[in-house]
Symmetry: D2
Subunit: 347 residues, 4 copies
Amino acid sequence: MMQGTMKAIVKPERAPGAKLDEVPIPQISDQEVLIQVKATSICGTDVHIYAWDEWSQSRVNPPYVFGHEFAGVVVEKGKNVTNVDIGDHVSAETHIVCGECKQCLTGQAHICANTQIIGVDRDGCFAEYVALPAVNLWKNDPELPFDVASVQEPFGNGVHTVLAGDVAGKTVAVIGCGPIGIMAVGVAKACGASQVIAFDLNDYRLDLATKMGATTVVNSINEDPLEVVRALTNGEGVDVVCEMSGHPIAMNQGFKMVTNGGRVSILSLPVRPVEIDVTNDIVFKGITVQGITGRKMYETWQQVSGLLSSGQVDVKPMITHHFPLEDFEKGFNLMLEGKCGKVVLHP
Amino acid sequence: MMQGTMKAIVKPERAPGAKLDEVPIPQISDQEVLIQVKATSICGTDVHIYAWDEWSQSRVNPPYVFGHEFAGVVVEKGKNVTNVDIGDHVSAETHIVCGECKQCLTGQAHICANTQIIGVDRDGCFAEYVALPAVNLWKNDPELPFDVASVQEPFGNGVHTVLAGDVAGKTVAVIGCGPIGIMAVGVAKACGASQVIAFDLNDYRLDLATKMGATTVVNSINEDPLEVVRALTNGEGVDVVCEMSGHPIAMNQGFKMVTNGGRVSILSLPVRPVEIDVTNDIVFKGITVQGITGRKMYETWQQVSGLLSSGQVDVKPMITHHFPLEDFEKGFNLMLEGKCGKVVLHP
Amino acid sequence: MMQGTMKAIVKPERAPGAKLDEVPIPQISDQEVLIQVKATSICGTDVHIYAWDEWSQSRVNPPYVFGHEFAGVVVEKGKNVTNVDIGDHVSAETHIVCGECKQCLTGQAHICANTQIIGVDRDGCFAEYVALPAVNLWKNDPELPFDVASVQEPFGNGVHTVLAGDVAGKTVAVIGCGPIGIMAVGVAKACGASQVIAFDLNDYRLDLATKMGATTVVNSINEDPLEVVRALTNGEGVDVVCEMSGHPIAMNQGFKMVTNGGRVSILSLPVRPVEIDVTNDIVFKGITVQGITGRKMYETWQQVSGLLSSGQVDVKPMITHHFPLEDFEKGFNLMLEGKCGKVVLHP
Amino acid sequence: MMQGTMKAIVKPERAPGAKLDEVPIPQISDQEVLIQVKATSICGTDVHIYAWDEWSQSRVNPPYVFGHEFAGVVVEKGKNVTNVDIGDHVSAETHIVCGECKQCLTGQAHICANTQIIGVDRDGCFAEYVALPAVNLWKNDPELPFDVASVQEPFGNGVHTVLAGDVAGKTVAVIGCGPIGIMAVGVAKACGASQVIAFDLNDYRLDLATKMGATTVVNSINEDPLEVVRALTNGEGVDVVCEMSGHPIAMNQGFKMVTNGGRVSILSLPVRPVEIDVTNDIVFKGITVQGITGRKMYETWQQVSGLLSSGQVDVKPMITHHFPLEDFEKGFNLMLEGKCGKVVLHP
């Protein structure tokens, strides 16, 4: 067993901020694996924890190591582990599930009610090493660059959202161009969407959406999203809305821009209840609304691997910044300013 | 062509009420059929028009004959009509659709944006005769009693809602036990649901729900719906919610009682926007919400015929009242009081 | 740990037959559970092993204890077991899967290419005790009688086949009325099929099919199956065929009796390749053919529990014989003669 | 009404061959439209009729004008026609369906048992003008070149086959690289397939498959298809097989190369029954086999328009030859030799 200490970004106390620290290298159980982290990317969730918002205050228990997106190499394995070997390149599904509830037993483990999340409910991967249950690992093609492999987890959110129904030959709107929204644009384009219309208030990110394949980008401050959609769809509305903004106005625009019988897939987390015109926007239109959480375990991961390894989606354009682990604050600041795509840290 | 006049219930003016009148027998075009009405049932929509609520004021144009649920016999057909013959027993799909829009061209005619509804946007069937496009007719088994055949249209709403996903071996909640809710109970039971839990505030209608097969009925005034569901489902929640109440509190109870990954199918029409906890009740739970309008044309009708002709569902217990057409006001009063299941008028 | 010996039906050697023997009570690992068997039923597979047919010769390795359908009570559990407790009533999924292959990782564990089957590839449950991996156990309602609980596994095959698509309001043919076929009849009926037409050459079993809810039974020696179907379906054919005979002529009748766009779900295992008129019976008809293996893990088990515990399906009429374990030969003889529904042995 | 005569390719008699002739311009009914043909492409079916094979002898009734793939401009419309106008660019769904059968009434019109096919059962489009029911027309973007618009019908076959299930992030095999197979390759690639492996015996067509996006092409004479698939899929087999060869050996290779739980979609028409190892290749593998006929009316057409107008698929590389209508024999000879992709005739 590896002994000693390692560098890690620690959430030290119940207050804003984080610090680089030396902490013990984690020890593994018979069912776990120790991974040397080669790249780890910053998620919006990490920014919430860093900023210490209401949700973080109610959920996380400092001090602990946070972070959950990564790619690395297996350096130790417990005696019962059979699915990976020392030296394997891996990333991880960040939902640690119970395996025994109704959802886990029916192919819906991603919505297990007993889920623990890496870097939220237990130590995470903003560190030189991370210990994880072997069943949560996903083996990467060794030729996949570590930074690309690290963003597979949020890319999986985009894949899960976009591919929760058909998109081939259909018109798709992506509302909200944070990193996952931008990746969703790339997925929709790669999977045959006839139009991919991206909405945001941030031109920097709309520019990234264009690079990832958006056929139209709309800054909703400058243009009326509903008018744009009407003009682009012969008045019919879009077939699919991927709601990734979490903003009540934008979300309702989504309900209004979708065509009768269309699909609205919601990955975002509005901070309070949203008023929805159920009668006119859901019932009379006969639409389907889907709540999307996590990634299907592990169907989404297979789709992720297929789309990345084949080159059908190239996520490089949206990985905009790289820093050594020590410079994590630069990354968090960029995220807070919205002046980045994905930020990758290298331990 | 049949000439002369007929008895009809007419909405005479922009004010509450209706009156029995003599009006001309309608004339048919080459694509239409004249039907002698044998039984016609009162829908909640008819009650809205009778009571002259906000929606009616914005939609209908008196004077005209209303009513849309019926069973009858073909007495005349236009020269281009090939799908029915004189003497055939028929009912009708009440959505008259354009046949040319995107929805009509992709098997979604029930949500055609150009829909006209019989008895709402054109003359209806509270009369001795009704003229209709031949393509809207559904041929009935001549052995099917006229009163049962008349309620196929709203029964179809129930079938469309319940069978918009799987119910076999699953737990189903029906929120709101108006006539369609009560029929939905019967459909869920007949299609293999392991539990059918019915909710309403009206004991008369809960009693009908029991007769149609509910395994538990809950008067939401007396019992906490969420507690009942927890107790009956081992704390997991129900697999399927059929929302037929239109009440914001009941609807939100539906979102809270459904299990992670479950389905909420909404047929009801809340009169104003509803506040929904999208984050906790839709996204984190990974549920699917469906807006349900009308009946699939004509897949639902085939299911309706299959369920009724086989005896899998017996709707007789919920057809509680019969009147001659002349006594229509007795029927409307019962509907307004909620002291009935389905009321059938006989011209 | 329980020590000592127990009674068991052993396949002693590579030849027809079996014998009752005293063998050591099995020892369990940290992930396993020891179950006292209360009821165990005979499957067609057991009859193949007993009769020592070609397939058995190529697959099983005597001496070993066979049998795989059972219900029992947990009497010991390994230290890592968390999903069941001592005293729980349980049955088991008989496919022991690898958990690591593509199928296992995408909700298709029932077709894991590395499957081991209880009582085929390792010791089974024709015994007083059986040791099994905890993850394979299904907890039974303690009120479910042991004989009913024992037939859940083959009942699950029927459920998997029938519910591999819609049946509500549809016409269903079940070809081949062995025990699984008879249970499939009950499932189709309970799940809203408008007609359930059962075919076999054995009147004893057709009689059981009637008891389980078949709306028409056809002895294919005496009547032409295709003519019967045409007469019962207005010339259109049935919506769904459940092929459970394994006979090439009957299977091809299934392809011919299904309506355009219908479904043929095949659970049977024809002993040699079958000539199929792909052009006329599959392509021009636009049908879907499904190969059905095992039970979905564990969606099918949830449906099974839902259908049995609710009383939607009553399997009692097809459990025709009970014997003490010692009289197993009587049971095997009845199975060979086709003069039984399900035969249950009681250790 | 347009009077006079026009040039047309006529099948003059029950014998091999065809001839260019002057025939009357067709007259239209109230529900029909007259179209000036701008481009018309040769289908394999036309080659069968030209060569006068067994199938043609049993189906078509010379003398008549054949051909069914085209693009043109509306020049006359019947008085009841509302969905197109004079001057519209159009192509046509070639299945003229009854609109009244069970399949037509449930969104399955493409497998209507009463289908008539343009150019097979009635006069077709190898001519200067063609008369068609207005409901069969599909309006084209006027910017779509006529040759591209003409191949939408067979392109739709490819779309229907490939998109009869998911392909995004999956491995897809296309067996048989006639024009539809080659287009299927393009569709799979455009819709996110991680690998598209194309099989044929004809290197010319495999070269076109490469141009349309195949990631691997296999001449099955030179390489063992099953070995290639095993090597490319880590031994797992492909997720999806599109069978377009009609050859029994190739079809069975398809069943053997598909992964457990995969999909085999068959568009081809083998000339006689095929021996299939149902037990090992369908049941134990738990696969789904789909018969594919025509195009979904009109969901497939919407997908076709979406994929072509967006540029997601470019069919130009596989339209290899253009001739004036008069030189039709050159086109038929190329088709017979397999030395072409799609051949377009210009009246």
